[in-house]
């Protein structure tokens, strides 16, 4: 009963009557040819309004969420999502604005966008910004597509390869492929920095560009960034910055100043828009001077004389890589990010990098003190850091997965596990700047308890969780006996 599906509440003829208009007559549908009309009504739920409200209220209780728990999911930047941003984005004027409304009826919205573009330029040190991409991965796509457009415009069509450090997010190689490039991985050294010699060898006339993030997914700042930039640029390639870890360096160092040519940002990470159970996000792209002509459209522009805002579209920017969505991307996310940027302002932006880094280094040191093994113990943590549990896995047969599951029993969301792939049995932990020291201390306490359990009662850890709506799930069965839609029989 706890996991009853909404479809199982369905009874023929039941309905949430207040929500639907009165039925139309067959006569009113007579213009639609019979052969195009549906023969049987679709098997959608027939339920009352109270049943819907109760079902989705109760279902929501089965989620961990920032609003309920510490959620130190590395590389995901699960920080507080201001409720004020939600209210502002849901203002009727914004909510009811049609995406194709004329500029006369869009000045308020365009003003927000235009200013947000400017903020993002300043924060990243880039020359131009487009807000169009609908997610980080689409921002990556736009970035690499611009690199491709750049080389193509110069007739430089021998460049078929994108270089990617092995610790990178999976989206990086997948994006390169989507843009028609081959991927070459570059090894990472023991200290978490890219193997510069290997990079030099990999670079050549076939190099379209390098995709990387800095701080890297190893949770450390890539110290050789200038040498890397020089190497790639010297080979004629461009540098792509994956904004996944931008939170760590806000107000400290800008991708543009590090030599990157193009960057995407994850507003759902760095700018505190909600993750919504997996989306939506927004992945604006910023570019250096040489990629300005290729930015995806539409963008917000301003007439200098009148101060009026307008759309910059492929009509005025014909070299653009074009539209990535039917309209202009995830407007509601952009408005939330605008709200956040306006509340933080200059000082607030600078504090983001400072306090997220402070939190990560604190958590790292405290966890080391209770016996956790840092992947890069001699390095500063950025806004996140890696722990390796290879020793526990060997000594107690307690894996990173087991520890993650047991954390749930202590009401702590597990960090990212088994990523980056190059560190076996690892956690990637990111506390963010919005969590209190007490919240981190609670996490440390839980980890300490789990370490004790791993020694004294390992089954408690390997069989965890015990307190969640379900125990560990059979993923093999899920993949083998595919059950992706519900059927009554």
């Amino acid at each position: 009963n706890e996991t009853t599906l909404i479809f199982q509440h369905s009874r023929p003829g039941r309905s949430a009557t207040a929500q639907a208009p009165k039925p139309v007559s067959e006569d009113q549908l007579s213009a639609i040819p019979t052969n195009l009309r549906r023969k049987n009504k679709p098997g959608l739920p027939e339920v009352s309004e109270l049943e819907v409200v109760r079902h989705y209220t109760n279902l929501s209780a089965k989620n961990f969420a920032i609003d309920k728990q510490f959620y130190p999911l590395g590389s995901c930047t699960m920080k507080y999502n201001p409720r004020g941003a939600n209210r502002a984005a849901m203002l009727p004027g914004f909510l009811n604005r049609h995406p194709l409304a004329p500029a006369t009826h869009s000045q308020g919205y365009l003003a927000c966008l235009y200013e947000l573009q400017d903020f993002l330029k300043e924060v990243t040190g880039m020359k131009g910004v487009s807000l169009a991409p609908m997610a980080g991965a689409q921002g990556e796509f736009a970035g690499v597509a611009m690199i491709r457009a750049y080389h193509e415009a110069r007739g430089d069509d021998a460049r078929t390869e994108i270089l990617i450090p092995e610790a990178a997010h999976g989206t990086n190689p997948a994006t390169a492929t989507m843009c028609g490039y081959k991927v070459r991985e570059v090894p990472v050294g023991k200290n978490g920095d890219v193997d510069l010699e290997a990079l030099k060898e990999a670079c050549g006339p076939q190099t379209a560009g390098l995709m990387m993030t800095n701080p890297s997914t190893c949770g450390v700042f890539e110290r050789q960034i200038e040498a890397i930039a020089k190497t790639v640029h010297d080979a004629g390639g461009l540098l792509y910055y994956d904004g996944a870890n931008l939170n760590a360096i806000l107000g400290k160092v800008r991708p543009g100043d590090m030599g990157f040519d193009v960057i995407h940002m994850n507003l759902h990470k760095t700018f505190a828009t909600p993750h919504g159970g997996g989306g939506p996000g927004a992945g604006p792209v910023g570019v250096s001077q040489r990629l300005l002509d290729y930015l995806p459209t539409p963008m917000a522009g301003q007439d200098e004389e009148s101060g009026d805002y307008h759309w910059i579209d492929t009509g005025t920017l014909p070299t653009s890589i074009g539209h990535l969505s039917a309209f202009m991307g995830n407007a509601g996310v952009l408005l939330r990010a605008y709200f956040y940027a306006m509340v933080l302002g200059r000082q607030g932006m600078i504090r983001v990098g400072e306090y997220s880094t402070l939190a990560a280094n604190y958590l790292l040191k405290r966890l080391e003190a209770i016996g956790c093994q840092a992947a890069y113990p001699e390095r500063r943590a950025s806004h996140e850091f890696i722990l390796a549990f290879a020793k526990q896995a060997k000594d107690n047969h307690v894996t990173a997965l087991d520890i993650a599951k047991r954390l749930l029993d202590y009401n702590q969301h597990a960090p990212t596990i088994y990523f980056p792939l190059l560190v076996p049995e690892c956690f990637l932990i990111e506390p963010t700047e919005t969590e209190t020291k007490e919240a981190m201390d609670d996490f440390i306490d839980a980890m300490e308890k789990i370490f004790n359990e791993a020694n004294t009662d390992p089954d408690t850890v390997t069989q965890a969780p015990f307190t969640q709506p379900v125990r560990r799930l059979d993923d093999v069965k899920a993949a083998k006996e595919l059950d992706l839609v519900w059927s009554e029989c």
């Binding site: 989620n63 306006m342 379900v470």
Partner: protein, 452 residues
């Protein structure tokens, strides 16, 4: 410090635990000269929630209008209050991708329910957890059709000119990087439909798929059975692009022709998602079971836990970027979780009959509006085909000028077809269940005045 909880005591305690003297010291691995640009001088001073809310409220107010008949891929519908009051509950709103399935059964079950209702609405076997929007969904479907059509070696796909031009251009922007060619199929300028006759020149050539838009951009209903059968007879897959509201009363793509469409995509916005300037919306994507391993995006499966209890989990992850990296079906790594959650609640509230009523009123209101407008001198239907809830009209004057004059009266009277189709005097007009008889009459009266 907005949103940052640390007191001076906290900071000192944390620095002490780290063994650092200052926060700045934590950044000592960054070359000093790189830090120069980071004073962010161009940013404004931070303001409180009160000030920023007032600023944004004033701006939102600027964009309000009296009446709108804009469609073109995004439609105004009644959204039950319960939809977003539930969807913005912190448990949905502030959770992330359900990587820890045991602590994410809420989101996972919602997605499983969503997949089920999309499959049922489209008449397909399986659905993914949603993609960014309808247009990017079409691009994913095109790429998918290249992988899924084992009989074809082509990197070409037939795309009707009567498809929403914004879908066409977004699709082009995405797939062209992989040297995929979208080949145009003209429409009948009399009927406003894509005729099988127009397809015959392509018969016998190798195309991976034919895209069929039902309704098409002009609101016209296509003869989907004939088009589907033609494509299959010519070795192509069929990619359906549909409006989800319409599926409550129109033949679902799974039943088109003798075999049904192979992949279905569309814009999910009409299902409970506000117009909101174009997003966040969600693209729905469904397919036949045999193609499921070629489908991009997140997919949720039902399984059991170690005690045999039902549970839900991410599945078929071997297709995805975080496992397959450069070999993945797509680089997509999220879905549009929140919008999709809202849609699931919306459809549950409407039910099959309610959604059919909505679709019926959209159609009936659009017919009525077309009748009222074409009663004006010189206003005519542009095409003869039956429509769903959008209709192309020709005016006795320049369309852009007429629309601008209507906008001065605070009425957004439709979309111009001048730029995309060189139909200088034509507009595309939509009405839905939100429009009352009085709204239609106000529009007609304003149009009459403008044309006078």
């Amino acid at each position: 410090m907005p949103y940052i909880p640390h007191t001076e005591d906290d900071v000192q305690a944390m620095l002490a635990a780290i063994g650092a003297d200052s926060i700045e010291q934590l950044f000592d691995e960054i070359p000093a000269h790189l830090k120069a640009g980071s004073s962010l001088d161009a940013l404004p001073e931070g303001q409180g929630e009160m000030e920023v809310t007032r600023l944004m409220a004033d701006r939102a107010e600027q964009d309000r209008f009296a009446l709108s008949f804009l469609g073109g891929g995004a439609y105004a519908h009644h959204i039950p209050a319960a939809v977003w009051e539930l969807a913005t509950r912190g448990e949905y709103y502030t959770a992330y991708t359900p990587y820890q399935a045991e602590a994410s059964q809420g989101t996972l079950q919602v997605i499983y329910e969503y997949q089920t209702l999309i499959a049922r609405l489209t008449g397909m076997d399986v659905s993914n957890a949603s993609v960014y929007d309808g247009a990017s969904g079409l691009a994913e479907a095109v790429l998918m059709s290249l992988r899924a059509n084992r009989k074809s070696k082509s990197r070409k796909v037939l795309v009707p000119d009567a498809l929403n031009p914004r879908y066409r251009s977004a699709c082009e922007a995405i797939v062209s990087n992989q040297d995929v060619e979208l080949v145009s199929v003209p429409f009948c300028t009399d009927a406003g439909q894509t005729l099988v006759d127009s397809l015959s020149p392509f018969a016998g050539d190798d195309y991976a798929a034919l895209v069929i838009s039902q309704p098409n951009y002009f609101g016209s209903l296509e003869d989907v059975d004939a088009l589907t059968d033609w494509a299959h007879a010519n070795g192509m897959l069929v990619i359906a692009v549909t409006n989800p509201t319409s599926l409550a009363i129109l033949t679902p793509p799974g039943e088109w022709g003798s075999e049904g469409a192979d992949v279905v995509v569309g814009e999910g916005q009409p299902l409970g998602v506000p117009l909101s300037s174009g997003g966040p919306y969600f693209g729905f994507m469904a397919c036949k079971k045999k193609h499921v391993r070629q489908m991009p995006g997140r997919i949720i499966g039902r399984t059991v836990d170690m005690e045999g209890k039902q549970g839900f989990t991410l599945t078929l992850q071997a297709r995805e970027q975080h496992i397959r990296r450069s070999k993945a079906t797509s680089n997509i790594c999220t879905n549009q979780g929140l919008a999709m959650t809202a849609a699931t609640i919306y459809v549950s509230l409407l039910g099959p009959d309610g959604l059919a009523s909505v679709a019926g009123h959209c159609h009936a209101n659009t017919q009525k509006l077309a009748d009222k407008l074409t009663a004006l001198d010189g206003v005519e239907r542009a095409f003869t085909a039956p429509v769903f809830h959008e209709v192309a009209l020709t005016l006795p004057q320049d369309a852009d000028t007429v629309l601008a004059k209507l906008a001065e009266k605070d009425i957004l009277g439709g979309l111009s077809l001048a730029k995309d189709y060189s139909m200088k005097n034509a507009i595309l007009v939509n009405a839905t269940e939100v429009h009352t008889e009085g709204d239609l009459d106000l529009f007609v009266a304003a149009m009459k005045e403008v044309l006078a």
